[in-house]
Amino acid sequence: MAFNRELFFENADASARSGFVIRAVDVHKVYRMGDTEAHALRGATVDIIRGEYLSIMGPSGSGKSTLFNMIGGLDKPTEGKVYIDQVDIAQLDPYELAWLRCRKVGYIFQSYNLIQVMSCIENVMLPMAFAGLDGEESREKALHILDLVGLGGRALHKPSEMSGGQQQRVAIARALANSPDILLADEPTANLDLKTGEEIILLFRKLCNDLGVTVIAATHDLKMLKKSDRIMWIEDGMITQVTTPDQMNLHEEEVH
């Protein structure tokens, strides 16, 4: 997997950065459904270090997805603040929010959310279009990224013609399209076989180490957890634990 650094990342300088790239301070999220209220997050506070590889673990219903939405700028908290690059995202106007989602954060959803009517390469080129990149340049870059995830030969296929694992890789490629600073991944290796899963984890690790990309992944994959810098546990809308992988080895049986 040849990594064309110039093509892929411009102005990237890992060493020049430090500090927290994302901070969530006492975030609450309440969903109102008729008369009842659902408290998805009850005061979650998260500090994410720039350039780290963070894994988030938690049972279903723990508020994991909600937290993801918050720190990714997809939703606004009912209470509390979220800072991305020291900027309070609740203060952003629609243009800035759109820019954030386009250029700064790359999203990988558990259900891929690929646009079914477009081919793979068109899916990867779409965020580039929103970033103002067009034509032959964007096509070249898209092909390169598809190569990185091992799908170079399937550029013209539609998502419906591909397996779950392949679609997931297209989703990963799309998230990388605009060279984001932050990668938010929801179960990125769930449908991948062992070998491909390892390749993807290696890719994430490389992005972190060489280019200072912050990778935040929700996962149950042991291989991923072992490669992370930190592991965060969320339960009942709050962060219960933050550990490093070596501290976690003792609880291997509890992962599932």
């Binding site: 950065r17 939703d75 759109a98 989602r101 959803f109 690929l114 646009i115 009517v117 929103f130």
Partner: protein, 340 residues
């Protein structure tokens, strides 16, 4: 180092157009449902408009035919059942179009025989003015000459019943009128009343078609709106995804408006062509294509065609406003959470 937080640029219209066309092409099946709604609505509107235009341009011809029908019914009233009776027709001078048409109608009536002087019909037997009336039940005098060259006594000789219908009120005859000649006009005050009544009915029909056209346009708008809302709901995840990739709300709105404009335009053109074709075919068949194409008000027809296309497109875009806004205002998180 990349800037802290930048501002997303608005994408050019061409980009939105591109993605919109792609979307329609791939969803052609479902777009066809929306399109057919527009086609039907505009076809209906156009057929009414074109029908009115053509009908009014043929107004003279229509009036002529109405008069002829009245003349025919008057004749039938005079004659009762035509079978077994002989008709005598005297033509004095040149006949106008109304009389010619009337003569054709007489020819088609089930008379035993038609005897005619000075004119030609399919069934008519040519006679001299002196013996045209032999055995005839009714005498009809056509032609526009105010002074008839023949005497009434000659024309009515040998008739079983002395009844006559004259096309011209002021016609004078040579010689003395024989006893008991009852002369009625083919077109008199009574028929004028009937004409007025027919006009009134036509006016009412016109009003009714306008009303129906308005209702049908409203139905069209509602059906387009409904189809578009269904389309938006179906594409909730797609819209949420696009917003996650950096699409501005205005872009999403523009996307749906462009889609509806394209679909509306295409549907309007097809509807306009269909709608114009139907009255052309019908009126052409009734009145004859030659006459109709001669009388067609081409300028007004072209303008109404263009007008209908504009109406259809504007209607589609209007119907799309609510669905487009709904799509544009979606929060990505809730859009992606949806189970559609």
């Amino acid at each position: 180092m990349r800037e802290q937080i930048g501002r997303q640029v608005r994408l050019p219209m061409s980009r939105a157009l591109q993605i919109a066309i792609q979307g329609i092409r791939i969803r052609l099946g479902r777009s066809l449902v929306t399109v057919s709604g527009v086609v039907l609505g505009i076809a209906f509107l156009m057929s009414n408009v074109a029908g009115q235009l053509i009908s009014s341009s043929l107004a003279r011809e229509k009036e002529t035919r109405q008069i002829v029908t009245l003349m025919e019914s008057l004749t039938q009233r005079e004659v009762g059942s035509a079978s077994g009776k002989i008709l005598a027709v005297a033509v004095c001078g040149a006949m106008n179009r109304t009389e010619q048409l009337f003569l054709d109608r007489l020819d088609a009536m089930p008379f035993e025989a038609i005897r005619i002087t000075g004119g030609r019909t399919k069934r008519g037997v040519s006679c001299t003015p002196q013996n045209v009336g032999a055995g005839a039940y009714l005498l009809v005098v056509l032609g526009q000459d105010a002074a008839a060259p023949h005497a009434l006594g000659d024309l009515t000789r040998g008739m079983t019943r002395i009844g006559m219908l004259d096309a011209v009120e002021s016609r004078t005859y040579a010689g003395q009128a024989p006893e008991g000649v009852k002369r009625d006009l083919l077109f008199g005050p009574e028929t004028e009343q009937q004409m007025a009544r027919m006009q009134e009915k036509a006016e009412q029909a016109k009003f009714r078609t306008i009303w129906v056209a308005v209702i049908s346009l409203l139905v069209t708008i509602i059906s387009i709106s409904n189809a578009l809302l269904m389309s938006v709901t179906e594409r909730i995840r797609e819209i949420g995804t696009m917003k996650c990739l950096g699409a501005l709300s205005s872009f999403i709105r523009r996307l749906f408006l462009i889609e509806s404009a394209l679909v509306g335009f295409a549907g309007s053109v097809v509807g306009m062509l269909l709608g114009a074709l139907i009255p052309i075919l019908i009126y052409g068949w009734i009145f004859g294509f030659g006459l109709m194409f001669q009388e067609l008000p081409y300028l007004r027809l072209t303008l109404s065609c263009a007008g209908c296309v504009v109406v259809g497109t504007v209607l589609s875009m209007t119907a799309a406003i609510y669905p487009a806004n709904f799509a544009a205002r979606m929060v990505p998180a809730s859009a992606l959470r949806s189970n559609v």
